[in-house]
Symmetry: C2
Subunit: 152 residues, 2 copies
DNA sequence: TTCAAGAAAGAAAAAAATTCTGAAAACTAA
DNA sequence: TTAGTTTTCAGAATTTTTTTCTTTCTTGAA
């Protein structure tokens, strides 16, 4: 369960590129295939490595607008929250949703093709969810940084 | 450059699991290896597939606190912005940083081990950046959804 | 009808992952 | 220290996957 320096080196490499071969990794950290293989397998089994995913270029698939969205519910009861949470899971435009402390309840990150799509999403998919009281939108004008790499 | 239904099927599968073999994909979309191979290669070359990454479990590597952070600069000149942008790229705790429209300038997403680490980060790394005027933090209490999958 | 282009199938070769065997190093307990 | 145990790693063999090459099938235009 505790990560030694070799584990960390492997994780740092794999975070950046999930298609690195064991051979590549072995070479970069001066080990043979076997220990690298065993460690990666162990890290997967322990759930430290959660999954391998493919990152697409938003722009190139026509998803040009990112919006941060602060949502406030009518009341914070368990039922209201649970209903909202479940609905969010079914909305593919919502790529992040977190319950937060502060002057509103949820922070969402939405990705859509354009402003017209966002208007539709807002009107027909988000504001109609039961329990939703206030929605405050912030539009991304320029992306400075976006990474899946965690400090380790 | 234009994606047909087969391309989209491949992208949908690969977004969820970058370690699917060509054989697996071929089977799921009823094709042989060759066209799947050719299409994946093309999608990579065109940059539609940007990269393959490994997602780690935040909790299991001790990164227990996520914070959304709204930053306002003293002034919005090009130089001030550029300086801020460059500094952000060097901070591993910042996993997202976007320039947004509205009552503040930047929306950041920060991942750190705990509140003490965040305090340190805030005081010693963020607030000291030149040009930073206001910082407003929202702490994540519960993660509802977090995905790298884009609607396609 | 015939030719050319695009998409897919199948087979062969190259590369990678997986499994197996065993050696070296580190740690434990008498 | 010494013997026993565990952990970590190396090397080789096997299996699986990727990559490359050749061929077939379909479609559309001359």
């Amino acid at each position: 369960m505790t990560l030694d320096e070799t584990d960390k080196k492997i994780l740092r490499l794999l975070q950046e590129d999930a298609h690195l071969t064991l051979k590549d990794i072995a070479k970069q950290i001066n080990l043979s295939l076997t220990p690298v293989h065993d460690r990666v397998k162990r890290l997967q089994q322990e759930g430290i490595i959660e999954k391998y995913v493919t990152i697409l270029n938003k722009k190139k698939i026509g998803q040009n607008l990112t919006v941060y969205c602060q949502v406030t519910l009518i009341k914070q009861t368990h039922d209201t929250s649970e209903g909202f949470n479940q609905s969010i899971l079914n909305l593919p435009e919502v790529v992040e949703c977190n319950f937060v402390s502060g002057s509103f309840d949820y922070m969402l990150k939405i990705i859509v093709p354009d402003m017209e799509s966002y208007h539709q999403f807002h009107q027909q998919k988000l504001s109609v969810l039961s329990g939703v009281s206030l929605i405050h939108s912030f539009f991304v004008m320029s992306e400075v940084k976006s990474t899946t790499v965690l400090p380790i």
